[in-house]
């Protein structure tokens, strides 16, 4: 028989064990809670950035947009060709068109008749010139600089067609193969349109060297060929200091086979683009630590060739400022000369912008800045071409 005492004891023991179990569960609960907190804190600390980037995506690192977005503020008359993500595109009206899908297009040069394009295809250690029709068809390799020896590989850049289309001029450092001195910079060379060069030796002996660059400057740049009689380019030379070269715009005259300065040696001017009527020159100028402004000056061929420009640079001194802030590049005139399009750093993206130009009794007046594209990350190292439809 079970006594009351036994019963009580058993109940006491049961109660005690129940209490202990409850306590144990409580402790276990707190323990699990604490472990969970520590675990969550650890995960947040260790992988917090990843979690954050998933939950709250931001512009961390770089991502290149795949599309060209039009601002819809500008209805473009004609066709404006440019490069983005190593492909050639154009804008007309308020639509964009991607011409190539080869992912190897840089530094385009378009013939004046708007039918042919010569461009640069960059590789590790060298770059080649290629040519195609304006619609991207008939893509042909013009030069082959691939070699098993890197000292035999060379760079090509900024091709430009002679206005009548017979020749192509461009920048290259193939001089290093003639002199055997690797430090030769890029100089301006030209060759007959329609020629292809299967080897560098055939190229050297069938091309004409127009300019000899200053050593250690990187060489000449930005070749444009607005008139059959002359071309324009940027010349680099150490003049005011030795920590960085100065730049100026030069004109190469085919009648005298000589170069003439268009802007002073200290001007830091580059990217020359002559207006269709050849009366004005648009160009950019390096300013301060990291800016590049846009200017327009009168262009007088006679004063340049007679060196009177060189003695006074009066046209340069009367230069008009088109854009005086930020980073601007690659100006190009509209076919009627009433607009200039250029690439402008807009926030973190290089976009295409434009300004209208009115000539009122010899005085130029500029319209407001309008963006043609937004957040489109246009290639600011490649020239743009504005052609008629």
């Amino acid at each position: 028989m079970e006594t009351n005492m036994d019963f009580n004891n058993r109940n006491n023991i049961k109660n005690m064990s129940n209490k202990n179990t409850k306590k144990g569960k409580k402790i276990l609960g707190y323990g699990v809670f604490l472990i969970l907190i520590v675990f969550i804190a650890y995960i947040l600390l260790k992988y917090g950035t990843i979690i954050e980037s998933i939950l709250n995506p931001k512009n961390i690192g770089f991502s290149i947009s795949k599309n060209v977005t039009l601002s819809n503020q500008y209805n473009l008359n004609g066709r404006l060709y440019f490069v983005k993500n190593n492909n050639m595109w154009y804008i007309t009206g308020n639509t964009t068109h991607k011409v190539t899908n080869t992912n190897n297009v840089s530094d385009i040069g378009i013939s004046k008749n708007g039918k042919q394009v010569t461009y640069v295809s960059f590789h590790t250690n060298y770059s080649d010139l290629r040519q195609m029709n304006i619609n991207g068809t008939n893509n042909t390799q013009l030069t082959d600089w691939q070699s098993q020896y890197i000292q035999n590989e060379a760079w090509s850049a900024t091709p430009a067609y002679e206005p009548n289309g017979n020749y192509i001029a461009y920048d290259t450092n193939i001089r290093k193969l003639i002199t055997g001195i690797p430090r030769a910079g890029l100089g301006v060379w030209m060759f007959k349109n329609g020629t292809t060069f299967p080897s560098y030796s055939s190229q050297i002996y069938n091309e004409t060297e127009l300019t000899i660059p200053t050593r250690y400057t990187g060489g000449d740049a930005d070749v444009t060929w607005p008139n059959n009689n002359f071309l324009l380019y940027t010349y680099y030379i150490y003049y005011t200091g030795i920590a960085q070269p100065d730049s100026q715009i030069m004109l190469y005259d085919f009648n005298t086979n000589q170069s003439y300065p268009v802007t002073p040696v200290t001007s830091e001017a580059m990217e020359p683009r002559l207006s269709p009527n050849e009366k004005y020159l648009a160009f950019t100028e390096r300013k301060g630590n990291n800016s590049n402004y846009l200017y327009v000056m009168k262009f007088d061929l006679n004063s340049i060739l007679n060196n009177t420009e060189q003695s006074s640079f009066s046209n340069y001194k009367n230069t008009l400022q088109l854009i005086s802030n930020g980073i601007n590049a690659q100006p190009t005139w509209s076919p009627n000369g009433k607009n200039i399009a250029f690439i402008k750093l807009n926030g973190n993206s290089f976009d295409i912008a434009a300004k209208s130009i009115q000539n009122k009794k010899g005085k130029l007046k500029f319209g407001n800045l309008t963006y043609i594209t937004t957040n489109s990350e246009i290639d600011s190292t490649s020239k743009m071409y504005w052609l008629e439809k």
């Binding site: 931001k58 990187g218 920590a243």
Partner: protein, 344 residues
């Protein structure tokens, strides 16, 4: 009676469920608060990653403790020694060659910022160096005595106290630029280098090989790798190291401009997470944050960039055995410059 018994049973059954509900609810609220705070401020991640990068104190040498700093005003500046090294793989981890030696001085009261590049080829006497009568190029200091000896020599030769150091490697530089979303640069000129080091491929056989390099002179967007090529290339410049010092200062100023943007603060967690294994500094967390605040306050302050290059502050010549091209400092002119910058 029966109802009572059932009630008590029910109560007993419901109690643990309620507790679990409360527990789960508390846990959920806690997690939500943590995630909210984290996303909102990025504080936790910043703190964690800053701990890894910062506070790497390097004990001052005995000589450093006895240096008399020449310029009265220099203690009003925060002087940071920036060191950029060559590929880590080429060297013993404790004796990395510094390709870039730069003093960045910030005076928050007088609103002055200086950026002074010291040529790595400066021909100076280095304690502990046994050849050439103890003379060698400045970068030998980090090779034989690490950051401590480099800091000591900068203090000894230039007469200012270095408050902090910050070291960055090549891969660190690439990550730094990429974390900031790249940089938009107006190059000083087209960069053409026929012997650019090809030492970041990860292939040990290519560690001492070179490539041809071409960077257009047109304004352009640069990724971390491109920016490194731009600031590291030296063969395409008339004065090699001096030319690239100019480009290094240019890119540093672009980075400073990026930091001036308050929105960049939100990117700090990602920045420090990316850089934790490849950047080192002896600044503590509060010091980093104070400096960031000072930088923001000096947003519009013009930076004075100086390269101790020929002909103003040095000259190029040959010295040592085997004979090597070196840069001889013109201490008279350098001292005048530092007196002007840091004197009363």
């Amino acid at each position: 009676m029966v109802i009572d018994i059932d009630k008590s049973k029910l109560q007993k059954k419901n109690k643990p469920r309620k507790k679990w509900k409360i527990f789960l609810l508390t846990l959920l609220i806690f997690v939500a608060v943590i995630i909210f705070l984290y996303i909102k401020s990025g504080y936790l991640s910043v703190t964690y990653d800053l701990f890894k990068i910062t506070g790497n104190k390097i004990q001052r040498t005995k000589v450093e403790q006895t240096i008399h700093y020449k310029y009265d005003n220099s203690n009003k500046f925060i002087n940071i020694l920036l060191l950029g090294s060559d590929t880590d793989q080429k060297f013993n981890p404790n004796s990395i060659l510094t390709q870039t030696i730069m003093i960045v001085s910030v005076n928050p009261y007088q609103k002055k910022i200086y950026m002074i590049s010291i040529p790595r080829d400066f021909w100076i006497k280095i304690p502990g160096y046994t050849q050439n009568g103890g003379y060698s190029k400045f970068d030998t200091a980090s090779e034989i005595g690490g950051i401590a000896l480099t800091r000591q020599l900068v203090e000894q030769y230039f007469g200012i106290k270095i408050d902090y150091y910050a070291w960055i490697g090549l891969k660190g530089f690439i990550k730094l630029i990429d974390t900031f979303g790249g940089v938009n640069v107006v190059p000083t000129h087209p960069v053409l280098d026929w012997s650019y080091p090809n030492d970041l491929t990860g292939n040990p056989n290519l560690l001492y090989s070179s490539i041809n390099l071409y960077i257009s002179g047109a304004p352009q967007y640069m990724t971390g790798s491109r920016a490194l090529e731009y600031v590291r290339s030296r063969h395409g410049d008339l004065m090699g190291d001096f030319g690239r010092s100019k480009r290094q200062q240019q890119v540093l100023r672009i980075l400073k401009d990026k930091l001036d943007n308050p929105s960049t603060i939100s990117e700090i967690p990602s920045l420090f997470n990316n850089l934790s294994s490849i950047v080192r500094t002896d600044m503590t967390i509060p010091e980093v944050l104070s400096l960031a605040k000072i930088a923001l306050a000096l947003k519009n302050t013009k930076i004075q960039s100086i390269i101790l290059s020929p002909p103003d502050y040095s000259s190029i010549g040959n010295a040592g055995y085997p004979i090597q091209s070196v840069v001889f400092p013109n201490w008279q002119k350098i001292n005048s410059l530092f007196l002007k910058l840091y004197g009363n």
